[in-house]
């Protein structure tokens, strides 16, 4: 019998009502770490597709098998340009993800505050 009461109480007070209290804690602990790890995984995958490590390791290896001196010079320049380009791209992506995380962190208080503010203003301004 105790088990039954416990189960119903668990559903009511922990699962349903308790989740309201659990929500802010979850949002800034488990939720934040979840979103951060997803962002890191996405960035890692993207950086793998940009092949930074391979390009740095082969920085002085001529592209397209052009082993003559001009081939080497053009290759190094090209690799430099591409690496810079890809670094910028990944930085931009990282910034977007970071903004996303910041937005995640700000979203609940911000929306709540703005909502409350709008509600209060509505009450004051409405005749």
């Amino acid at each position: 019998m105790n088990n039954r009461v416990g189960a119903v109480a668990h559903l009511l007070f922990i699962d349903l009502l308790g989740s309201i209290a659990w929500f802010p804690v979850w949002w800034y602990t488990k939720g934040l770490s979840l979103i951060a790890s997803n962002a890191i995984a996405a960035l890692t995958y993207r950086s793998q597709s940009y092949s930074f490590r391979i390009w740095i390791r082969n920085f002085f290896v001529p592209m397209y098998g052009q082993f003559d001196i001009w081939g080497r010079i053009i290759s190094v320049l090209m690799r430099f340009v591409v690496l810079v380009g890809r670094s910028i791209a990944i930085t931009v992506e990282a910034v977007i993800y970071a903004l996303g995380i910041v937005l995640w962190a700000l979203a609940p208080p911000l929306t709540f505050l703005l909502g409350s503010q709008s509600g209060v203003l509505g009450a004051i301004l409405t005749p």
Partner: protein
Amino acid sequence: MAEPVTQQIILCSTCQGDPRASLTCKACGGSGLGLPSADGLLTWGAVVDDFALAFRKIKLRINVFFHLTLIVLSLLTLAAFVWRLMRLDNLADVSTLRFWSAGYPEVTFFWFGLFLDCFIIFRLVEYTRDVKLLPNWGKNKAQRTVYEAGAAERSKHRFNVSLFFTDDAWQTVGNAYRLAKDLHLGEVTVTHLFAAAISSNTGAIFMTRLGLPFDKIKDPLAQMCHTATSGPPPIPLSRDVKRALILAYADARREHRKYVSTIEIFLQAFRNEPKLQELLDSLGFPPDHVVHVAEWIRLQDKLREDQERFVTLAMLKPATVMNRAMTARQTPLLDRFSEDLTLAARNGYLQPLIGRSQEMEELLRAIESGRRSVVLVGEPGVGKSAIIEGLARRMVEEDIPPQLFDRRLVSINLPQLISAGDPGLAAERLFAILNEVALSGNIILILHGIESLSGGSSHGPLDLAESLSTELDKGYFLAIGTTTPHAYTQYVERRSLGAKLTRVNIDEMGRDDAIRVLMAKSGSIEFQNKAFFSFAAIEKAVTLSARYLHERSLPDKALDVIREASVLARKQRGERTFVTADDVAAIVHEKSRIPVEAVSSDESAKLLNLESELHKRVIGQDAAVVAVAQAMRRARAELREGKRPIANFLFLGPTGVGKTELSKSLAAVYFGSETAMARVDMSEYQDASSIHRMIGAPGDQRGGLVTEAVRQNPFTILLLDEIEKAHPEILNLFLQVMDDGRLTDGVGRTIDFTNVVLIATSNAGTQFIQDEVRKGTPMEQVKTTLMEQELKGIFRPEFLNRFDAIIVFKPLTQDDVSQIAWLMVNKIGERLAEKGMKFRAEDAAVEQLATLGFDPLFGARPLRRVIQDRVDNQLADLILRKAVQRRDTIVLQADLSLLVEPAPPLS
């Protein structure tokens, strides 16, 4: 059976794990027992009763309802906001501060709606699924090591495994409870759990794969379900059920599953209840079959998960010939003569490798050890190509040593390359290709059938091996070749190319591994042919092809068999049919010409009456007939030793007593035709050099007379006539045949003699036999003396020892010859019947023929001559003179003259 979990279950010290006592036990909280593990003390911490099961369902429904309500609310706030926007005179007002600070209720709703969305995200992530992921799922090796390190700390705590059971698995546990309740039993037993598991969706798939109709198991299982003691509610889970559920968790964890599903419950229930094992065994499904089928279902799930991971990783691999470092260059000539395996793997055309992890490690180690190329040496069909395709997939996943990183695996089409016919052109092409490969620098070459570079192909004298060897020596690229052991020895090993390549042996797969490969590949065959495999079909394909098909190796030959069997099943019974063990047996029979199907009732009757069938042609010689018939019955009932011929007989006795006739009649009765026999006259093999005629000269692809006959038709009688006349070296050859059931021919092929009835006949000791029989010595004594004295000088003891039976044929008596005379006269009648004439012989005439044809020295042979002279000659005259017409009757009279009785005229 797969490994059982041997860890010791710990019982609660207070309630001793008693199901009822544990319900109220404070010490264990109702779990009763536990299993120590790296996760902690595994316990079943959930109550299973009507309330708990109903509550579980309600809880899920309440959650769904709650989430739907939240989503509707959020949508309403959004709708209100949109409504406000639509009422604006100018939509650009949205960008003004006035709009947002005007205190519109819709704007307030909008912000709170967004806040609500955050809450919905939280609820959906945290509360939608009521099942927890297994602790080691999705963790890599390093993460797992960190987790395992905390095992000691966790061991102090209880770990509730019920949280990891899927809804489906919970349904199974619930159904087991309801079954026990409906039967008014005192507790839920493992049998109930098993019955509930096979009634689930997974159970249905399982039963279908096993080939076991539910109706067949329903009654005995229902009976077993009733055997538990009855008792009033509450109905607790028995100790064994809790144990099985905990072990199901341990099993799922060991197999790196995401959750604990019904298949794990099914397996553990089966493993932990000997009575269930006995039940299925009695229905023809041994425990290892059952476990294999469960593995099959899990393997397909795992392959699906692996494929998802592969697809994600494959996206990183370039889709062109260029590598990611962009150091490669175009290879136009190579592209014309090759196939890019990494590209094929990336695009999903290559299947994953099953098993062969040891060989793959050896291959990678050889590559990693330095700038060494590799040759995979294995018989056709062992899976050399599969290993290379597996390597291509690993290169796509980049789960490989640095030497292979960011490279392409390119398979050169050697026949196309060298088919120019002009060796100069072929060499030029090869050089140009190798040059492209070296310059490109990102290519690992695959050379299937590398021996063809050394002239080991049908394209004439051509030697490109030296060229390749020189290029490999420079170390600009790596190559992986494949070849057969024989071709390796003949064309590669002693050449400079052989010295450049590290040999990796690929042996034929074992039975269990081959079954696993077939299970993994069955899906695509099923899809292609729209027919489904039962486990018995898979298992039979492996077992029968291993035993009867010797031209190729496992798993390839078994895969061929199931492919053909699925086509056969579809053609015979239409689409969506089941491929059974019988379909597989029919294919193997067709390929090997060996009857491998289950013994039919017709055949069984024939086998049981084999003696009388043989006696229709062989008069007397009871011992010989019985020995032969018994050997055939043993062979067909699969009771014989698998590694020897069906039987090895030595027939001794004078000429004309029925030695060859018995062999012929066995061929006719059992093998279908008198000619289903390879007859070798051993007097033609009197010198040692004639061995080449028998097994083939070294390197001669045509093979030898005996080996080819048996290779072409492995289920046959091998009759070695007058064996005493053969050279002793040749007899030595048969020592191996009689002992191991195989013989290697001149080309190096191993010929299987295990389905051969080997009969050697000999006239040795004839005089002795005749003298002793005349003296009236009993046959047993004649045989003993013959073996101990007479045959000693003729055959070596080890040769005689190899025979299953040495049968002494008695000289024929006058009575025997009379019966033979009747047989022969009847045959004349059969021949005349074909010409539309009737034939009748008077008793006295046959007796007269028998008297004239009887000669104790030559057996029945003189009788044939007498019949030929006295009867056949006269018949020929009659027919040629047209003195006899169709429908007339010819009568052989007592004085051996022929009388023609004209047929009555047709009315």
